[in-house]
Amino acid sequence: MADRVTTVVVGAGHAGLAASHFLRSRAIDHVVLERGEVANSWRTERWDSLRLLTPNWLSRLPGQDYDGPDPDGYMTMTEVIGFIERFSTGAPVRTGVNVERVERTEEGFEVSSSAGDLACRSVIIASGACNVPIVPDFGELGVHQVTPFDYRHPDKLPDGGVLVVGASATGVQLAAELRASGRHVVLSVGEHTRMPRRHRGRDVLWWMHESGVWAQRYDEVEDLERARRLPSPQLAGGADVDLNTLTAAGVELVGRLAAVRDGSALFSGGLRNVCSLADLKANRMLAGFDEWAGISDRVVLEPTRVPGKPRLRLDLRSGEISTIVWATGFRPDYSWLDVPVLDDRGRLRHDGGVTGVPGLYALGLPVLRRRRSTFLHGIEDDARHVVDHLALRLSGTFDQSVSEAR
């Protein structure tokens, strides 16, 4: 007979720990199963120089605000790990336990793990949205390749130039760091989200937060599917980085990597348009902030400077570059989830964190319940709501009308 517990939370990142916080406050008996240590992703899947792109004052978890000396600073990885570790105090976490399978049973679920089986009535999936780096398949390329999970520091790469593919937060940060280390860097730019670090003297994320943009609910977002796929903003913790600062530093911009043919990387000729789209969108965002603040004049960003003749081809065998860094996004891993809740593209189907399978919940996915859902400060509302729903169901007062109400 498997051991029993009411609720199993998969993953001890800040999302799983926030779930535990609310489960504890409702005295719902639960365990948090974590394959590594608390804050495992921050410990094992990030590069050395990474800092949060959200300022310290936004590092808020349920019952735990930032209380250090530098509210406008940006945490290093060591600081994030410490912050999350502190938040885990009192949570029933079992570390070093890998969840290998979750399946449905009559009463709820059976959770099989590296430490044995557990029977439970509900499961909260908090295993993260970024478990696997996405790497497009262009076949054999003959150069060294790394993902953001393997990348640690410029010194760890073989000598030579680097092609960084992807210009979202990760790609622009790594391109800047590699260029600063003295390397030749080519940055392949597809659709991206431009965001200036500051607007009218304040951190742009202050505007996102205060204007209410980030608090927008998932059921009020016009094109939710699109919002959930939005690339991360071109921001770095502290430093100003966008395509213009990269160009000024000597990074060569090219279009989206479209194909590899006869040993050459071929880039899209649509670079100018993806930059125009991002510029227009960034200016619209800033105008929206100003409108909210009742300011009538407008700040217009310097347009992205696109090279006059962006290169369309890079011979990967010429020795110009020795390494490709794939900054092409991440996806969750649900290979252990044996419950039919994935859509045809492998994404979890849910309505604000509530899946169609009674008792199965998710946290930490993009725009789960609000635009800010995947950020540290976005978890509180989401976790409270999901645990409220879970508790209502357990108490038996749950009826179908609740599950259908948004």
């Binding site: 659709e191 279009g255 989206r256 479209a258 194909a259 043919r261 071929l266 899209s268 000729g269 649509g270 348009n273 125009s276 789209l277 227009l280 200016n283 619209r284 003749k309």
Partner: protein, 181 residues
């Protein structure tokens, strides 16, 4: 509020997008053209049928396109140059995109003109191995009169590129197979 009418049935397009979510097979289209050599560098291409929505389809009528080369190429100029057909495709695709996006965004268009210029170094096709055969670059200039701000018009044009089949086909490589049957 007046209703926008650019003559694009956006609702039908949005409905199609919804319907195809559940039926990706139906979204697979094959476009076809048949070309016959006439004489010299003159050929005639006809287009009538295509495949899509899981079945053979046809246009209301067959269209015939003559392709030739101008007299400065020592040809008879019975029709436009093949590479000019790419400009026809690009301009009409982007223009259709502008109209559709405008309709979707509630922007009334009064007039839309696109001028397309493709710069071509013909030494490539004449055998100079250092020069590319195709266009070196293409420039499209839109003149749009619409009931919208300059920023909104810019956004229309940007979005139409983002959704354009021909813009994609020209800016990204496509695998092409040519066989002798």
């Amino acid at each position: 509020m007046t209703t926008t009418d650019n003559g694009v049935n956006v609702q039908a397009l949005l409905d199609a997008r919804e319907a195809l979510k559940g039926a990706p097979e139906a979204a697979q289209f094959t476009w076809r053209a048949t070309s016959k050599w006439d004489k010299g560098v003159h050929s005639t291409t006809t287009i009538k049928n295509f495949y899509g929505l899981g079945a053979e389809q046809s246009h209301k009528s067959e269209t015939v396109f003559a392709a030739d080369h101008p007299e400065v190429f020592a040809a008879e100029d019975n029709g436009i140059t093949p590479i000019e057909y790419l400009l026809v495709g690009l301009a009409s695709c982007l223009t259709a995109g502008v109209a559709s996006v405008a309709q979707n965004r509630g922007i009334q268009l009064n007039s839309v003109t696109a001028t397309v210029e493709g710069n071509h170094d013909i030494r490539g096709i004449l055998g100079d191995a250092d020069v590319r055969n195709g266009y070196n670059d293409i420039k499209v200039t839109f003149n749009i009169d619409a009931d919208a701000s300059p920023e909104d018009i810019e956004a229309l044009v940007a979005q139409s590129q983002k959704r354009s089949a021909v813009f994609d086909a020209l800016t990204n490589p496509t695998d092409v197979t040519v066989e002798v049957a």
